[in-house]
Protein backbone atom coordinates (compact mmCIF):
# COMPACT_ATOMS: atom_id res chain seq x y z
CA UNK A 1 0.00 0.00 0.00
CA UNK A 2 2.81 2.40 0.97
CA UNK A 3 6.22 2.00 -0.61
CA UNK A 4 9.14 4.22 0.25
CA UNK A 5 12.36 3.83 -1.73
CA UNK A 6 15.65 5.65 -1.16
CA UNK A 7 14.04 8.56 0.70
CA UNK A 8 16.29 11.51 1.49
CA UNK A 9 15.42 14.69 3.35
CA UNK A 10 17.32 17.71 4.59
CA UNK A 11 16.84 20.31 7.32
CA UNK A 12 18.83 23.20 5.95
CA UNK A 13 22.21 21.64 5.25
CA UNK A 14 21.96 18.65 7.54
CA UNK A 15 21.20 15.43 5.76
CA UNK A 16 18.57 13.84 8.02
CA UNK A 17 17.22 10.96 5.94
CA UNK A 18 19.91 9.10 4.03
CA UNK A 19 18.04 6.60 1.94
CA UNK A 20 15.10 5.15 3.88
CA UNK A 21 13.36 2.08 2.43
CA UNK A 22 10.15 0.76 3.92
CA UNK A 23 6.82 -0.66 2.88
CA UNK A 24 3.45 -1.36 4.45
CA UNK A 25 0.72 -3.60 3.06
CA UNK A 26 -3.01 -3.03 3.43
CA UNK A 27 -4.19 -3.76 6.96
CA UNK A 28 -0.66 -4.29 8.27
CA UNK A 29 0.60 -2.86 11.57
CA UNK A 30 4.21 -1.74 11.32
CA UNK A 31 6.32 0.01 13.94
CA UNK A 32 9.20 2.34 13.24
CA UNK A 33 11.54 2.28 16.23
CA UNK A 34 14.77 4.00 17.11
CA UNK A 35 16.37 6.51 19.45
CA UNK A 36 15.60 10.22 19.45
CA UNK A 37 16.99 12.15 16.50
CA UNK A 38 17.55 9.25 14.12
CA UNK A 39 14.94 10.58 11.68
CA UNK A 40 11.76 8.62 12.50
CA UNK A 41 9.54 11.70 12.70
CA UNK A 42 11.23 13.22 9.69
CA UNK A 43 10.44 10.07 7.69
CA UNK A 44 6.73 10.48 8.44
CA UNK A 45 6.85 14.22 7.79
CA UNK A 46 8.59 13.66 4.45
CA UNK A 47 5.90 11.16 3.46
CA UNK A 48 3.22 13.74 4.32
CA UNK A 49 5.03 16.47 2.42
CA UNK A 50 5.69 18.61 5.48
CA UNK A 51 9.44 18.20 4.89
CA UNK A 52 10.45 18.25 1.19
CA UNK A 53 11.20 14.63 0.24
CA UNK A 54 13.67 13.30 -2.34
CA UNK A 55 13.18 9.75 -3.55
CA UNK A 56 10.18 7.59 -4.34
CA UNK A 57 7.03 7.46 -2.22
CA UNK A 58 4.15 5.46 -3.68
CA UNK A 59 0.77 5.19 -2.00
CA UNK A 60 -1.75 2.79 -3.56
CA UNK A 61 0.43 2.81 -6.68
CA UNK A 62 0.44 6.59 -7.04
CA UNK A 63 3.58 8.69 -6.69
CA UNK A 64 2.91 11.12 -3.84
CA UNK A 65 6.41 12.49 -3.18
CA UNK A 66 6.15 16.25 -2.85
CA UNK A 67 2.37 16.54 -3.25
CA UNK A 68 0.69 19.10 -0.97
CA UNK A 69 -0.38 17.43 2.28
CA UNK A 70 -4.11 17.93 1.79
CA UNK A 71 -3.94 15.95 -1.45
CA UNK A 72 -2.01 13.16 0.24
CA UNK A 73 -4.53 13.12 3.08
CA UNK A 74 -7.41 12.88 0.61
CA UNK A 75 -5.87 9.81 -0.98
CA UNK A 76 -6.47 8.05 2.34
CA UNK A 77 -3.26 8.59 4.26
CA UNK A 78 -3.86 9.80 7.82
CA UNK A 79 -1.23 11.42 10.03
CA UNK A 80 -1.24 12.03 13.79
CA UNK A 81 1.76 14.28 14.54
CA UNK A 82 3.85 13.88 17.65
CA UNK A 83 2.84 17.16 19.27
CA UNK A 84 -0.84 16.23 19.32
CA UNK A 85 -1.82 19.33 17.38
CA UNK A 86 -5.34 19.75 18.66
CA UNK A 87 -7.10 23.02 17.86
CA UNK A 88 -7.19 24.45 21.39
CA UNK A 89 -9.89 27.09 20.87
CA UNK A 90 -12.35 24.68 19.27
CA UNK A 91 -14.45 22.26 21.27
CA UNK A 92 -13.75 18.53 21.33
CA UNK A 93 -16.73 17.99 19.03
CA UNK A 94 -15.55 20.66 16.57
CA UNK A 95 -12.08 19.14 16.55
CA UNK A 96 -13.56 15.78 15.63
CA UNK A 97 -15.83 17.27 12.97
CA UNK A 98 -12.87 18.93 11.26
CA UNK A 99 -11.41 15.47 10.73
CA UNK A 100 -14.17 14.73 8.23
CA UNK A 101 -12.95 15.39 4.69
CA UNK A 102 -16.23 15.12 2.88
CA UNK A 103 -19.38 15.99 4.80
CA UNK A 104 -21.61 14.45 2.13
CA UNK A 105 -19.98 11.02 2.22
CA UNK A 106 -19.71 9.78 5.82
CA UNK A 107 -16.90 7.33 6.53
CA UNK A 108 -16.91 4.26 8.69
CA UNK A 109 -15.98 6.16 11.85
CA UNK A 110 -18.85 8.22 13.28
CA UNK A 111 -18.64 10.99 15.79
CA UNK A 112 -20.88 9.03 18.14
CA UNK A 113 -18.63 5.93 17.94
CA UNK A 114 -15.68 8.04 19.04
CA UNK A 115 -17.56 9.53 21.94
CA UNK A 116 -18.85 6.08 22.97
CA UNK A 117 -15.32 4.72 22.86
CA UNK A 118 -13.97 7.51 25.10
CA UNK A 119 -16.40 8.59 27.82
CA UNK A 120 -13.85 11.22 28.88
CA UNK A 121 -14.12 12.93 25.51
CA UNK A 122 -17.90 12.56 25.51
CA UNK A 123 -18.14 14.29 28.89
CA UNK A 124 -16.16 17.21 27.49
CA UNK A 125 -17.58 17.24 23.98
CA UNK A 126 -18.50 20.90 24.22
CA UNK A 127 -15.53 22.28 26.14
CA UNK A 128 -12.49 23.78 24.41
CA UNK A 129 -9.98 21.05 23.60
CA UNK A 130 -7.16 23.15 25.04
CA UNK A 131 -8.07 22.05 28.59
CA UNK A 132 -7.75 18.31 27.96
CA UNK A 133 -5.01 16.22 29.58
CA UNK A 134 -2.15 14.84 27.51
CA UNK A 135 -3.74 11.42 27.21
CA UNK A 136 -7.12 12.86 26.22
CA UNK A 137 -5.43 15.04 23.60
CA UNK A 138 -3.75 11.96 22.14
CA UNK A 139 -7.10 10.14 21.93
CA UNK A 140 -8.67 13.24 20.37
CA UNK A 141 -6.03 13.72 17.65
CA UNK A 142 -6.09 10.04 16.78
CA UNK A 143 -9.89 9.95 16.63
CA UNK A 144 -9.91 13.18 14.62
CA UNK A 145 -7.69 11.64 11.96
CA UNK A 146 -9.86 8.50 11.95
CA UNK A 147 -12.90 10.65 11.15
CA UNK A 148 -11.27 11.26 7.76
CA UNK A 149 -11.49 7.52 7.06
CA UNK A 150 -7.81 6.79 6.33
CA UNK A 151 -6.69 3.47 4.85
CA UNK A 152 -3.28 3.91 6.44
CA UNK A 153 -2.71 5.96 9.58
CA UNK A 154 0.75 7.12 10.66
CA UNK A 155 0.93 7.83 14.39
CA UNK A 156 4.01 9.64 15.70
CA UNK A 157 5.03 8.94 19.34
CA UNK A 158 1.51 8.58 20.76
CA UNK A 159 2.69 7.58 24.24
CA UNK A 160 5.32 10.25 24.80
CA UNK A 161 4.98 11.78 28.25
CA UNK A 162 1.92 9.74 29.25
CA UNK A 163 1.36 7.80 32.47
CA UNK A 164 1.62 3.98 32.20
CA UNK A 165 -2.13 3.44 32.56
CA UNK A 166 -2.83 5.89 29.71
CA UNK A 167 -0.09 4.30 27.61
CA UNK A 168 -2.02 1.08 27.91
CA UNK A 169 -5.24 2.78 26.75
CA UNK A 170 -3.44 4.22 23.73
CA UNK A 171 -2.26 0.70 22.94
CA UNK A 172 -5.86 -0.53 23.12
CA UNK A 173 -7.00 2.22 20.76
CA UNK A 174 -4.30 1.37 18.22
CA UNK A 175 -5.18 -2.32 18.45
CA UNK A 176 -8.81 -1.36 17.90
CA UNK A 177 -7.90 0.64 14.78
CA UNK A 178 -5.88 -2.30 13.46
CA UNK A 179 -8.82 -4.65 14.03
CA UNK A 180 -10.98 -2.37 11.88
CA UNK A 181 -8.65 -3.10 8.98
CA UNK A 182 -6.76 0.19 8.89
CA UNK A 183 -3.03 -0.17 8.19
CA UNK A 184 -0.84 1.50 10.82
CA UNK A 185 2.65 2.94 10.82
CA UNK A 186 3.49 3.50 14.47
CA UNK A 187 6.51 5.62 15.32
CA UNK A 188 7.63 4.75 18.84
CA UNK A 189 10.49 4.74 21.25
CA UNK A 190 8.98 2.36 23.78
CA UNK A 191 9.05 -1.29 22.82
CA UNK A 192 6.01 -2.37 24.87
CA UNK A 193 3.17 -1.28 22.56
CA UNK A 194 5.16 -1.88 19.39
CA UNK A 195 5.92 -5.49 20.27
CA UNK A 196 2.37 -6.09 21.48
CA UNK A 197 0.53 -5.05 18.32
CA UNK A 198 2.95 -4.97 15.37
CA UNK A 199 3.18 -7.48 12.55
CA UNK A 200 6.58 -6.13 11.60
CA UNK A 201 9.08 -3.64 13.03
CA UNK A 202 11.71 -1.41 11.47
CA UNK A 203 14.55 0.10 13.44
CA UNK A 204 16.15 3.34 12.29
CA UNK A 205 19.63 4.61 13.01
CA UNK A 206 21.53 7.53 11.50
CA UNK A 207 18.89 8.31 8.92
CA UNK A 208 18.39 4.83 7.47
CA UNK A 209 16.72 1.52 8.29
CA UNK A 210 19.11 -0.74 10.19
CA UNK A 211 16.80 -3.66 11.04
CA UNK A 212 13.62 -5.16 9.66
CA UNK A 213 11.82 -8.17 11.10
CA UNK A 214 8.96 -9.54 13.19
CA UNK A 215 8.56 -8.63 16.87
CA UNK A 216 9.77 -12.13 17.78
CA UNK A 217 12.91 -11.73 15.71
CA UNK A 218 13.61 -8.45 17.47
CA UNK A 219 13.01 -10.00 20.90
CA UNK A 220 15.52 -12.71 20.01
CA UNK A 221 18.15 -10.33 18.69
CA UNK A 222 19.74 -8.74 21.73
CA UNK A 223 22.68 -7.27 19.80
CA UNK A 224 20.42 -5.16 17.61
CA UNK A 225 18.41 -3.96 20.61
CA UNK A 226 21.62 -3.02 22.46
CA UNK A 227 23.13 -1.20 19.52
CA UNK A 228 20.12 0.73 18.23
CA UNK A 229 17.48 0.97 20.95
CA UNK A 230 18.72 0.73 24.51
CA UNK A 231 20.22 3.78 26.08
Amino acid sequence: MLEVRDLHAYYGKSHILQGVDLSISAGEVVSLLGRNGVGRSTTVKAIMGEVPPQGTIRFKGQDIAGLPSHKIARLGLGYVPEHRDIFPGLTVRQNLLLGIKNTRRPGKWRLQDMLDMFPNLAARADTPAGVLSGGEKQMLTTCRTLMGDPELIMIDEPTEGLAPLIVHQVGDLIAHIAKAGVAILLVEQKLSIALRISHRVYIMGHGRIVFEGTPDELKANEAIRKEWLEV
Binding site: P68, S69, H70, P88, G89, G99, K101
Partner: protein
Protein backbone atom coordinates in the same frame (compact mmCIF):
# COMPACT_ATOMS: atom_id res chain seq x y z
CA UNK B 1 -20.70 68.77 28.36
CA UNK B 2 -23.35 66.05 28.08
CA UNK B 3 -23.81 66.92 24.42
CA UNK B 4 -20.07 66.55 23.85
CA UNK B 5 -20.04 63.17 25.56
CA UNK B 6 -22.95 61.79 23.55
CA UNK B 7 -21.67 63.05 20.20
CA UNK B 8 -18.10 61.99 20.88
CA UNK B 9 -19.22 58.55 21.98
CA UNK B 10 -21.16 58.13 18.74
CA UNK B 11 -18.22 59.36 16.67
CA UNK B 12 -15.78 57.29 18.66
CA UNK B 13 -17.78 54.08 18.24
CA UNK B 14 -18.11 54.83 14.53
CA UNK B 15 -14.37 55.39 14.09
CA UNK B 16 -13.76 52.27 16.19
CA UNK B 17 -16.03 50.13 14.02
CA UNK B 18 -14.29 51.42 10.90
CA UNK B 19 -10.96 50.49 12.46
CA UNK B 20 -12.38 47.06 13.21
CA UNK B 21 -13.34 46.51 9.55
CA UNK B 22 -9.64 46.91 8.82
CA UNK B 23 -8.03 45.37 11.89
CA UNK B 24 -10.17 42.20 11.79
CA UNK B 25 -8.77 41.25 8.39
CA UNK B 26 -5.24 42.28 9.26
CA UNK B 27 -5.14 40.30 12.48
CA UNK B 28 -6.66 37.14 10.97
CA UNK B 29 -4.24 37.30 8.03
CA UNK B 30 -1.36 37.76 10.45
CA UNK B 31 -2.17 34.81 12.65
CA UNK B 32 -2.91 32.46 9.75
CA UNK B 33 0.02 33.26 7.54
CA UNK B 34 2.42 34.96 9.91
CA UNK B 35 2.53 37.94 7.56
CA UNK B 36 2.03 41.45 8.84
CA UNK B 37 0.42 42.90 5.74
CA UNK B 38 1.79 46.41 5.32
CA UNK B 39 -0.44 46.92 2.30
CA UNK B 40 -3.65 46.41 4.27
CA UNK B 41 -4.38 50.10 4.62
CA UNK B 42 -3.65 50.43 0.88
CA UNK B 43 -6.58 48.12 0.19
CA UNK B 44 -8.67 50.52 2.25
CA UNK B 45 -7.47 53.37 0.04
CA UNK B 46 -8.14 51.36 -3.11
CA UNK B 47 -11.67 50.81 -1.80
CA UNK B 48 -12.19 54.55 -1.42
CA UNK B 49 -10.89 55.35 -4.92
CA UNK B 50 -12.72 52.47 -6.59
CA UNK B 51 -15.82 53.63 -4.73
CA UNK B 52 -15.33 57.16 -5.98
CA UNK B 53 -14.78 56.12 -9.58
CA UNK B 54 -17.60 53.59 -9.70
CA UNK B 55 -19.95 56.07 -8.04
CA UNK B 56 -19.22 58.45 -10.91
CA UNK B 57 -19.92 55.76 -13.49
CA UNK B 58 -22.75 53.70 -12.03
CA UNK B 59 -23.86 55.39 -8.82
CA UNK B 60 -23.12 54.92 -5.13
CA UNK B 61 -25.21 51.85 -4.34
CA UNK B 62 -23.79 49.54 -7.03
CA UNK B 63 -20.35 50.91 -6.15
CA UNK B 64 -20.90 49.97 -2.52
CA UNK B 65 -21.15 46.32 -3.56
CA UNK B 66 -18.78 46.26 -6.52
CA UNK B 67 -15.79 48.20 -5.17
CA UNK B 68 -15.15 45.88 -2.18
CA UNK B 69 -15.47 42.86 -4.49
CA UNK B 70 -12.86 44.38 -6.81
CA UNK B 71 -10.52 45.08 -3.91
CA UNK B 72 -11.08 41.52 -2.68
CA UNK B 73 -10.10 40.22 -6.13
CA UNK B 74 -6.92 42.33 -6.05
CA UNK B 75 -6.17 40.90 -2.59
CA UNK B 76 -6.69 37.34 -3.76
CA UNK B 77 -4.37 37.92 -6.70
CA UNK B 78 -1.73 39.36 -4.37
CA UNK B 79 -1.95 36.24 -2.19
CA UNK B 80 -2.03 33.75 -5.04
CA UNK B 81 0.69 35.20 -7.26
CA UNK B 82 2.72 37.24 -4.79
CA UNK B 83 2.74 35.93 -1.25
CA UNK B 84 2.42 32.25 -2.13
CA UNK B 85 5.52 32.43 -4.29
CA UNK B 86 7.57 34.41 -1.78
CA UNK B 87 6.43 32.21 1.12
CA UNK B 88 9.23 29.70 0.64
CA UNK B 89 11.81 32.46 1.08
CA UNK B 90 10.56 33.21 4.58
CA UNK B 91 8.63 35.93 6.35
CA UNK B 92 11.10 38.73 5.63
CA UNK B 93 10.56 38.34 1.90
CA UNK B 94 6.78 38.37 2.41
CA UNK B 95 7.01 41.44 4.62
CA UNK B 96 9.09 43.26 2.02
CA UNK B 97 6.61 42.29 -0.66
CA UNK B 98 3.69 43.85 1.21
CA UNK B 99 5.86 46.85 2.09
CA UNK B 100 6.71 47.44 -1.56
CA UNK B 101 3.11 46.84 -2.54
CA UNK B 102 1.95 49.61 -0.18
CA UNK B 103 4.23 52.11 -1.93
CA UNK B 104 3.33 50.82 -5.38
CA UNK B 105 -0.40 51.20 -4.69
CA UNK B 106 0.11 54.71 -3.35
CA UNK B 107 2.08 55.74 -6.45
CA UNK B 108 -0.39 54.13 -8.84
CA UNK B 109 -3.31 55.82 -7.10
CA UNK B 110 -1.68 59.24 -7.30
CA UNK B 111 -0.76 58.62 -10.96
CA UNK B 112 -4.37 57.91 -11.84
CA UNK B 113 -6.29 60.22 -9.52
CA UNK B 114 -3.63 62.81 -8.65
CA UNK B 115 -2.28 63.85 -5.28
CA UNK B 116 -5.06 66.19 -4.21
CA UNK B 117 -8.34 65.04 -2.65
CA UNK B 118 -11.00 63.82 -5.07
CA UNK B 119 -14.60 64.94 -4.89
CA UNK B 120 -16.11 61.81 -3.32
CA UNK B 121 -19.35 62.93 -1.72
CA UNK B 122 -21.99 61.55 0.54
CA UNK B 123 -24.81 60.23 -1.71
CA UNK B 124 -27.79 62.58 -1.88
CA UNK B 125 -30.13 59.95 -0.46
CA UNK B 126 -28.16 59.97 2.80
CA UNK B 127 -27.28 63.65 2.91
CA UNK B 128 -29.60 64.82 5.67
CA UNK B 129 -29.44 65.04 9.45
CA UNK B 130 -30.66 61.82 11.07
CA UNK B 131 -31.57 63.48 14.33
CA UNK B 132 -30.74 66.49 16.41
CA UNK B 133 -29.41 66.14 19.91
CA UNK B 134 -29.15 69.36 21.88
CA UNK B 135 -27.97 71.65 19.12
CA UNK B 136 -26.00 69.20 16.98
CA UNK B 137 -27.36 67.72 13.75
CA UNK B 138 -26.09 64.19 13.50
CA UNK B 139 -25.64 63.23 9.82
CA UNK B 140 -27.60 60.25 8.52
CA UNK B 141 -24.54 59.09 6.58
CA UNK B 142 -22.65 58.45 9.80
CA UNK B 143 -25.53 56.32 11.08
CA UNK B 144 -25.41 54.46 7.78
CA UNK B 145 -21.67 53.83 8.21
CA UNK B 146 -22.28 52.58 11.72
CA UNK B 147 -25.06 50.26 10.54
CA UNK B 148 -22.90 48.78 7.77
CA UNK B 149 -19.99 48.17 10.14
CA UNK B 150 -22.22 46.51 12.74
CA UNK B 151 -23.85 44.35 10.05
CA UNK B 152 -20.48 43.20 8.78
CA UNK B 153 -19.35 42.52 12.33
CA UNK B 154 -22.37 40.27 12.94
CA UNK B 155 -21.96 38.52 9.58
CA UNK B 156 -18.28 37.89 10.31
CA UNK B 157 -19.14 36.45 13.71
CA UNK B 158 -21.74 34.10 12.25
CA UNK B 159 -19.45 32.87 9.48
CA UNK B 160 -16.54 32.29 11.84
CA UNK B 161 -18.50 30.66 14.66
CA UNK B 162 -21.27 28.84 12.86
CA UNK B 163 -19.91 27.53 9.55
CA UNK B 164 -17.45 24.82 8.64
CA UNK B 165 -15.29 27.27 6.73
CA UNK B 166 -15.16 29.37 9.89
CA UNK B 167 -14.02 26.34 11.89
CA UNK B 168 -11.30 25.59 9.36
CA UNK B 169 -10.13 29.20 9.47
CA UNK B 170 -10.04 29.17 13.27
CA UNK B 171 -8.15 25.87 13.31
CA UNK B 172 -5.66 27.18 10.74
CA UNK B 173 -5.00 30.19 12.98
CA UNK B 174 -3.04 27.98 15.35
CA UNK B 175 -2.12 24.85 13.35
CA UNK B 176 -2.16 25.41 9.57
CA UNK B 177 -0.08 22.27 8.88
CA UNK B 178 -2.44 20.06 10.85
CA UNK B 179 -5.42 21.42 8.95
CA UNK B 180 -3.64 20.39 5.75
CA UNK B 181 -2.94 16.92 7.11
CA UNK B 182 -6.66 16.49 7.71
CA UNK B 183 -7.25 16.97 4.00
CA UNK B 184 -8.30 20.63 3.88
CA UNK B 185 -6.74 22.83 1.23
CA UNK B 186 -5.04 25.41 3.42
CA UNK B 187 -3.72 27.37 0.43
CA UNK B 188 -7.25 27.92 -0.79
CA UNK B 189 -8.38 28.95 2.70
CA UNK B 190 -5.47 31.44 2.88
CA UNK B 191 -6.44 32.96 -0.45
CA UNK B 192 -10.08 33.21 0.61
CA UNK B 193 -9.18 34.83 3.94
CA UNK B 194 -6.82 37.27 2.24
CA UNK B 195 -9.55 38.11 -0.26
CA UNK B 196 -12.24 38.62 2.39
CA UNK B 197 -9.83 40.64 4.56
CA UNK B 198 -8.96 42.91 1.63
CA UNK B 199 -12.62 43.23 0.66
CA UNK B 200 -13.51 44.33 4.21
CA UNK B 201 -10.72 46.92 4.10
CA UNK B 202 -12.06 47.99 0.71
CA UNK B 203 -15.59 48.30 2.10
CA UNK B 204 -14.26 50.47 4.93
CA UNK B 205 -12.69 52.67 2.26
CA UNK B 206 -15.87 52.92 0.21
CA UNK B 207 -17.97 54.06 3.16
CA UNK B 208 -15.30 56.18 4.86
CA UNK B 209 -14.23 57.94 1.66
CA UNK B 210 -17.11 60.42 1.54
CA UNK B 211 -16.99 61.13 5.28
CA UNK B 212 -13.23 61.59 5.49
CA UNK B 213 -10.87 62.78 2.76
CA UNK B 214 -10.25 60.53 -0.25
CA UNK B 215 -6.65 61.24 -1.09
CA UNK B 216 -3.55 59.28 -2.07
CA UNK B 217 -2.02 59.64 1.39
CA UNK B 218 -5.00 58.18 3.26
CA UNK B 219 -3.37 54.75 3.53
CA UNK B 220 -0.20 56.20 5.01
CA UNK B 221 -2.30 58.14 7.53
CA UNK B 222 -4.37 55.20 8.72
CA UNK B 223 -1.81 52.38 8.46
CA UNK B 224 0.15 53.13 11.63
CA UNK B 225 -3.02 53.40 13.76
CA UNK B 226 -4.05 50.01 12.43
CA UNK B 227 -0.85 48.41 13.67
CA UNK B 228 -1.39 50.01 17.05
CA UNK B 229 -4.86 48.48 17.16
CA UNK B 230 -3.80 44.93 16.40
CA UNK B 231 -0.76 45.01 18.68
CA UNK B 232 -2.84 46.57 21.44
CA UNK B 233 -5.58 43.98 21.07
CA UNK B 234 -3.12 41.11 20.77
CA UNK B 235 -1.87 39.87 17.41
CA UNK B 236 -4.18 37.23 16.02
CA UNK B 237 -7.04 37.84 18.43
CA UNK B 238 -10.33 38.94 16.85
CA UNK B 239 -12.04 39.86 20.14
CA UNK B 240 -8.87 41.73 21.05
CA UNK B 241 -8.95 43.62 17.75
CA UNK B 242 -12.61 44.50 18.39
CA UNK B 243 -12.00 45.89 21.88
CA UNK B 244 -8.85 47.71 20.80
CA UNK B 245 -10.57 49.23 17.76
CA UNK B 246 -13.38 50.65 19.87
CA UNK B 247 -11.00 51.78 22.58
CA UNK B 248 -8.62 53.58 20.21
CA UNK B 249 -11.57 55.01 18.32
CA UNK B 250 -13.05 56.45 21.52
CA UNK B 251 -9.74 57.68 22.93
CA UNK B 252 -8.86 59.54 19.75
CA UNK B 253 -12.29 61.05 19.32
CA UNK B 254 -12.54 62.20 22.91
CA UNK B 255 -9.03 63.59 22.93
CA UNK B 256 -9.80 65.70 19.90
CA UNK B 257 -13.13 66.83 21.30
CA UNK B 258 -11.89 67.79 24.76
CA UNK B 259 -10.46 71.15 24.06
CA UNK B 260 -9.02 71.76 27.48
CA UNK B 261 -5.32 72.11 28.11
CA UNK B 262 -3.25 70.25 30.65
CA UNK B 263 -3.20 73.49 32.60
CA UNK B 264 -6.95 73.58 32.95
CA UNK B 265 -7.10 69.90 33.81
CA UNK B 266 -4.39 69.92 36.43
CA UNK B 267 -4.69 73.58 37.33
CA UNK B 268 -3.72 73.40 40.99
CA UNK B 269 -0.47 71.63 40.14
CA UNK B 270 0.65 74.42 37.83
CA UNK B 271 4.45 74.72 38.04
CA UNK B 272 4.26 78.44 37.32
CA UNK B 273 7.61 79.02 38.87
CA UNK B 274 9.26 76.57 36.45
CA UNK B 275 11.22 77.47 33.33
CA UNK B 276 9.32 78.52 30.23
CA UNK B 277 9.92 75.24 28.39
CA UNK B 278 7.84 73.45 30.99
CA UNK B 279 5.08 76.01 30.81
CA UNK B 280 4.93 75.49 27.03
CA UNK B 281 4.25 71.82 27.59
CA UNK B 282 1.80 72.72 30.32
CA UNK B 283 -0.27 74.71 27.88
CA UNK B 284 -0.50 72.01 25.19
CA UNK B 285 -4.16 71.17 24.57
CA UNK B 286 -5.44 67.63 24.78
CA UNK B 287 -6.54 67.94 21.16
CA UNK B 288 -2.95 68.60 20.24
CA UNK B 289 -1.72 65.42 21.88
CA UNK B 290 -4.54 63.33 20.37
CA UNK B 291 -2.48 62.10 17.40
CA UNK B 292 0.29 60.87 19.64
CA UNK B 293 -1.97 59.03 22.10
CA UNK B 294 -2.27 55.74 20.15
CA UNK B 295 1.49 55.43 19.92
CA UNK B 296 1.93 56.14 23.60
CA UNK B 297 -0.59 53.37 24.24
CA UNK B 298 1.41 51.09 21.94
CA UNK B 299 4.61 51.70 23.89
CA UNK B 300 2.86 51.22 27.23
CA UNK B 301 1.17 47.97 26.20
CA UNK B 302 4.42 46.58 24.79
CA UNK B 303 6.13 47.25 28.10
CA UNK B 304 3.34 46.10 30.40
CA UNK B 305 1.76 43.29 28.41
CA UNK B 306 3.76 42.32 25.28
CA UNK B 307 1.14 39.87 24.02
CA UNK B 308 -1.48 42.62 23.90
CA UNK B 309 -4.87 42.64 25.63
CA UNK B 310 -6.18 39.26 24.51
CA UNK B 311 -3.27 37.89 22.51
CA UNK B 312 -1.66 34.57 23.20
CA UNK B 313 1.76 35.12 21.72
CA UNK B 314 4.49 37.67 22.26
CA UNK B 315 4.70 40.44 19.71
Amino acid sequence: MLELIVISTLNGVLFGMLLFLLSSGLTVIFSMMGVLNFAHASFYMLGAFFGYQLTKWIGFWPALVLAPLLVGAVGMAVERYGLRNTHKHGHVAELLLTFGLAFAIEEIVSMIWGKSPVDYRVPAALDFPAFTIFSTNYPAYKIFMLAISVLIFIALLIVLKRTRVGLIVEAALTHPHMVGHLGHNVGQVFMLVFGVGSALAGLAGVIAGPALVTQSDMAALLGPILFVVIVFGGLGSLPGAFIASLFIGLVQTFAVALNGSLASTFGPLDPSIGPSVLSDIWNVTIAQIAPVLPYVLLVVILIVRPMGLLGTRET
